[in-house]
């Protein structure tokens, strides 16, 4: 039942927040904060309860028949991978609510409704093991996010929101087609209509057909990830979204794409995925380099941070398709740490924009003198982003590179150059915004205690993940080990 509550609490709290927010905006904030904290605590308790293993199985399940005649179940299940991503979801959820505390002043109740429903959708995505339910949750994330960008976004919000919607919707439809194809093929082979993940796993498929269905899934997840060439919705959506929107987009929505690859593409279509792996890895490495160069060229601070996601998620894609223990674990580690480090950068940029009403780095510079604590925090997360050892991102990226090297030396070398390129944009960010002469006469407040607390928590989390990642690695390691097992019939 705990899994059910994880999804229902934010859904119900969202409606409560909406109602309460009409008269008391502060009430909406508190309702959201309490609801997400509750979910976070529930997830932590799940982690604590099973701390000593059994992560590779569904250690907690919930299976209700939904539309039995079509074989649709309301089936939730959790293993080590889902657990960590849920922890990340609610962790960033709490921080997003806090980051919006003073930023959002209009329609506060409705804002929190959307925020909470996105979180519910994401939790659904990470928990669903019925493909129909998965698709349902996948779409559930999308609509509130559209509103979040379109209503509370910045100057070019309509364009960005529509672009985001079209990209994700079209690719989502491809996935729906792929799901249905799999559904019918499974029936043709076994005579059973089912959307059940575990049963579909062993559907016999002709290689050509399997490749097409795999690609349907792949494209949907590739748009979310984003894979280079399909990435152009991302900078617009991230830049125009309000802070909470950017944090959730970068920290969580992108991760649903990676999660989809790990949960569905590799296990459902192992052979096709194996054949496709070189292309996927090359795309990942291309994303690392191309994203870094794009980030380096930006003058808009938020856009710069947005493009770094393209680069970092390139590591995730390359790691997933390098498909060995090191690279897979590195990919998951990168997912988690990128969520924190980039989320923190978006929070900082948002705080800065709220104070200065600009994102242009040309109009900043020398802010260290004015807001030393904020600048110090920005420096810290910029360093995490460039892969400084001792911080979480390094562990993930190093493992990915180590695993990639085993599979393809040339790609590993190119990806390592991407780490060098990360230095360019991270240092440029620090230089343009915080170092240099203070010539614009900004008189702005430094981090208030609420923001300081958020930053401190995120800094500690990255240090912990960088220096003692063992508990986290141990939690998803068994899940990944299942992926690496020799495929049946190979």
């Amino acid at each position: 039942m705990i899994l059910f509550w994880l999804i229902v609490i934010p859904l119900v709290a969202g409606i409560l927040a909406w109602v309460a927010g009409h008269h008391r905006p502060l009430a909406a904030r508190w309702i959201a904060l309490i609801a997400v904290s509750l979910d976070f605590a529930l997830t932590l308790s799940l982690w604590a309860r099973n701390f000593h293993g059994g992560w590779h199985t569904w250690f907690e399940q919930l299976d209700w028949a939904w539309i039995p005649s079509f074989g649709i179940h309301f089936h939730l299940a959790i293993d080590g991978l889902s657990l960590l991503l849920l922890l990340l979801t609610f962790f960033l959820g709490i921080l997003s609510v806090l980051a919006s505390w003073t930023e959002i002043t209009e329609a506060t109740g409705f804002f929190h409704l959307n925020l909470l429903w996105i979180l519910a959708g994401i939790a659904g995505v990470f928990l669903a093991v019925d493909l129909f339910l998965f698709y349902f949750a996948w779409e559930l994330m999308l609509v509130p996010m559209y509103f979040l960008i379109a209503i509370w976004g910045h100057e070019n919000r309509t364009y960005a929101a529509i672009k985001f919607f079209i990209f994700t919707q079209l690719s989502g439809l491809l996935m729906l087609l792929a799901i249905l194809a799999l559904y019918f093929l499974h029936h043709a082979a076994t005579g059973i209509y089912t959307f059940e993940y575990e049963q579909l796993l062993n559907t016999p498929l002709a290689p050509g057909v399997a490749m097409w269905i795999m690609l349907g899934f792949f494209v949907a997840f590739a748009v979310k990830l984003p894979v280079v060439l399909l990435h152009t919705w991302l900078p617009d959506a991230h830049t125009e979204a309000p802070t909470a929107g950017s944090v959730i987009l970068a920290g969580l929505l992108l991760k649903t794409g990676a999660y989809g690859m790990l949960r569905f593409v590799l296990p459902l279509f192992p052979d096709s995925a194996h054949r496709f792996a070189p292309i996927a890895m090359a795309l990942g490495v291309a994303g690392i380099l191309y994203g870094a160069i794009l980030a380096f060229g930006q003058t808009d601070l938020k856009r710069l941070v947005a493009y770094t996601s393209v680069s970092h998620l390139g590591f995730v894609l390359a790691g997933i398709f390098a498909w060995n223990d090191l690279a897979l674990q590195g990919a998951v580690m990168t997912m988690i740490c990128h969520g924190i480090s980039t989320g923190a950068l978006f929070i900082l940029v948002g705080a800065l924009q709220q104070r200065t009403h600009t994102r242009e780095m040309e109009r900043m510079g020398g802010l260290w003198t004015v807001v030393p604590r904020m600048s110090g925090a920005a420096l810290f997360f910029a360093l995490a982003s460039l892969g400084l050892p001792g911080l979480g991102d390094f562990v993930g990226e190093f493992l990915v590179l180590l695993g990639l090297y085993r599979v393809n030396i040339l790609l590993a070398i190119l990806a390592t150059l991407g780490v060098l390129a990360a230095t360019f944009y991270a240092l440029r960010l620090v230089q343009r915004a915080f170092h240099g002469p203070e010539t614009h006469g900004w008189q702005i407040a430094d981090l208030v205690p609420r923001e300081g607390l958020v930053m401190a928590v995120m800094i500690l989390a990255l240090l912990w993940l960088g220096l003692y990642p063992k508990p986290v690695l141990d939690t998803f390691q068994p899940v990944m080990a299942r992926l690496e097992q020799p495929l049946p019939g190979r």
């Binding site: 152009t232 380096f296 400084l388 180590l402 090297y405 240092l427 230089q431 915080f434 690695l473």
Partner: protein, 622 residues
């Protein structure tokens, strides 16, 4: 006693954390106390450990302290563990002790600075990272320290962040050294992939068993590590960042960009010496890089007018000697020179700092002069350091260590006359540029009046270092014996044409030649120097050397500009143009189709008629 080893990096790290979080609210005295005392404590602990080590060496000559398993994925499980043997012990003691002196000096030197606590936070973090680098038991932890010191170097070069020039120098240092680190990281992948471990002792054993001398794996691994080493140690072809790094506060230049961090490359090669022994071509490359660097940097040092830049080039050149020693297999000699260099080069920078402070931040040696009487502390200490740098025979520490390197460059099987000759010419250059500075700064007429005299926290460290720069050389024989437990002894081969005494005599002669030339050009008749620089060949060379042999220009055109150009041109993202084009296409299609919706009945009737005909035609013909 050995269980206290973890404290050596932990205490400075704790200090850095404290200063970073609460430093801005602490009074200055407390900041200085935290900053200096943590390093003092760290130095004391390491000296105690050294005493214990000498009194009762651990079994096998090495002690490993495992703190925890850092990453644990399949067979990849690097630990957070420290490895103490003769090599890391010597490095650790020298680094913490010199760091302590420089921190003490900084307590007064940086007193008036706005970012006092930030400065000490960065400096403490640096010491913590540097000690981690030295003590690391595996290459991944070493890499953590390696990047950590690079970060502190970046932060401290750009310490006065309001001047964009400093920021530029800082970024250059970070990016150039990280270019080397990229090679090193790939080396780590290769080593792990092929040997299945990153533990330094394990991997060396396995390399011997698995690779064999001259195997292509060994060559690739050693070459990639060398890439990291030349970046950090500012050797050819990645030396360009160090002269610009002088933008940082002078104590930083003394600590990071002279005494400790820049020698990390030397340490890395000595630490993984087995890989280089398995890869003779790479080891030869180390020697050649060293010889070439020491000559090139020596020439550049001759032409600089900024006192700190002269010292920066001399650092590059002296590390060149250490590389030369490593390249001919004289591992211990390289570490010996590291030690004496740490003393005298830290001293030179600290003395230069006194001068610069006393003269209102004047860096130009041509605007100085006659300081012998004005600033006796600076004069005597700089003289001591300068003589050690130039290698004043028999008296100074620098002579002994350099002489030893030259002898091995001649005598080792890997050595050659060319390498030896390069080293000897380097001695002439060193002596020449060192005494050029000494003569210009301390002799002649007073050009800028002295406004400030140093207090005790500045004078004590420079005097201690001055004494060490003189007597440090006598520590040579016991040090070399001690290092034998960790590093193989240098091989000897071709005695004969030149004896050890003969080589020493040549070194002494080279020193005197440089000294004499400096005397001729810069003391007795300065017009001569101007004349040489004015003649066509001289002026071209002067400009070329002054600009570091054009490396900056080359890299700027080869790498920096193209990257900037691509980033600028592609700011709007070419890929997005495709999607924008797609949406334009749809919009235009819509515009065209919209024309048919014009509200005129006959158009609609005609449309229906044509449509029907086409439809009927399709049905009937297909």
């Amino acid at each position: 006693m050995f269980d206290l080893l973890w404290l050596v990096p932990a205490i400075p790290f704790a200090g850095a954390l404290l200063l970073a979080t609460l430093g801005s609210r602490m009074p200055r005295k407390a900041v200085a106390a935290v900053g200096v005392c943590t390093i003092a404590a760290s130095a004391i602990v390491s000296i105690l450990i050294a005493v214990a080590f000498l009194a009762a060496p651990p079994p096998g000559g090495a002690y490993t302290q495992v703190l925890w398993t850092w990453i644990d994925v399949g067979s990849f499980n690097p630990r957070i563990a420290f490895y103490l043997d003769a090599l890391s012990l010597v490095m650790m003691v020298v680094v913490t002790f010199v760091s302590f002196l420089i921190h003490l000096y900084s307590a007064e030197f940086m007193e008036g600075d706005e970012g006092y606590s930030r400065f000490f936070a960065y400096m403490n973090l640096f010491v913590a990272s540097m000690v981690t680098l030295l003590l690391a038991d595996n290459l991944l932890l070493l890499y953590l320290g390696w990047e950590g010191v690079g970060l502190c170097s970046y932060l401290l070069i750009g310490f006065w962040y309001q001047d964009p020039v400093n920021g530029r120098a800082a970024r250059k240092a970070f990016i150039v050294t990280r270019a080397g680190d990229t090679a090193m990281a790939i080396g780590l992948f290769l080593i792990y992939h092929s040997l299945g471990t990153l533990g330094i002792q394990d991997l060396m054993q396995r390399a011997i068993a698995q690779w064999g001398v001259g195997s292509s794996y060994a060559i690739a691994a050693a070459a990639l590590l060398l890439g990291g080493a030349v970046g950090k140690s500012a050797q050819l072809p990645l030396q360009t960042w160090l002269p610009d790094a002088m933008a940082g506060p002078t104590p930083t230049s003394a600590l990071i960009h002279a005494a400790t961090m820049v020698t990390a490359g030397v340490y890395l090669i000595a630490r993984t010496h087995v890989l280089f022994e398995l890869a003779p071509p790479v080891q030869l490359a180390v020697a050649i890089v060293g010889a070439a660097t020491l000559l090139l940097a020596g020439c550049s040092a001759l032409t600089q007018w900024d006192i700190k830049r002269v010292l920066a080039y001399s650092t590059i050149s002296q590390i060149g000697y250490m590389f030369l020693a490593l390249g001919v297999g004289a591992w211990s000699a390289a570490i010996f020179h590291f030690m004496t260099h740490a003393f005298f080069k830290a001293l030179l920078f600290l003395s230069a700092g006194i001068i610069i402070e006393a003269l209102h931040h004047e860096h130009n040696i041509f605007h100085m002069g006659g300081l012998r009487r004005q600033l006796p502390v600076a004069f005597w200490t700089f003289l001591a350091g300068g003589c050690a740098l130039a290698g004043l025979p028999l008296i100074t520490a620098g002579y002994y260590s350099k002489d030893l390197i030259l002898w091995h460059a001649w005598n080792s099987p890997a050595g050659s006359v060319v390498l030896w000759a390069a080293g000897v010419v380097g001695v002439v250059l060193t002596s020449l540029y060192t005494f050029r500075v000494i003569f210009l700064v301390f002799f002649g007429d007073v050009r800028t009046p002295v406004s400030k005299r140093p207090g005790l926290p500045i004078r004590i460290p420079v005097w201690i270092l001055a004494i060490l720069s003189i007597i440090g050389g006598y520590a040579g024989p016991p040090l070399l014996t001690f290092l034998k437990t960790a590093l193989p002894a240098a091989l000897e081969s071709r005695a004969g044409a030149l004896t050890e005494t003969g080589s020493s005599a040549v070194t002494a002669l080279a020193f005197l030649t440089g000294f004499g030339l400096a005397w001729l050009f810069f003391l007795s008749k300065p017009a001569r120097a101007t004349a040489v620089a004015a003649n066509p060949v001289g002026s071209v060379l002067h400009r070329f050397w002054f600009a570091d042999w054009g490396f900056d220009w080359l890299y700027d055109h080869l790498f920096v500009q193209p990257v900037l150009w691509i980033a600028r041109v592609n700011r709007g993202d070419f890929v997005d143009a495709f999607y924008t084009g797609l949406s334009r296409l749809i919009e235009w299609t819509w515009r065209i189709l919209r024309l048919t919706e014009n509200g005129q009945l006959r158009w609609y009737a005609a449309g229906i008629a044509v449509g029907s005909v086409v439809f009927v035609a399709i049905v009937s013909f297909l």
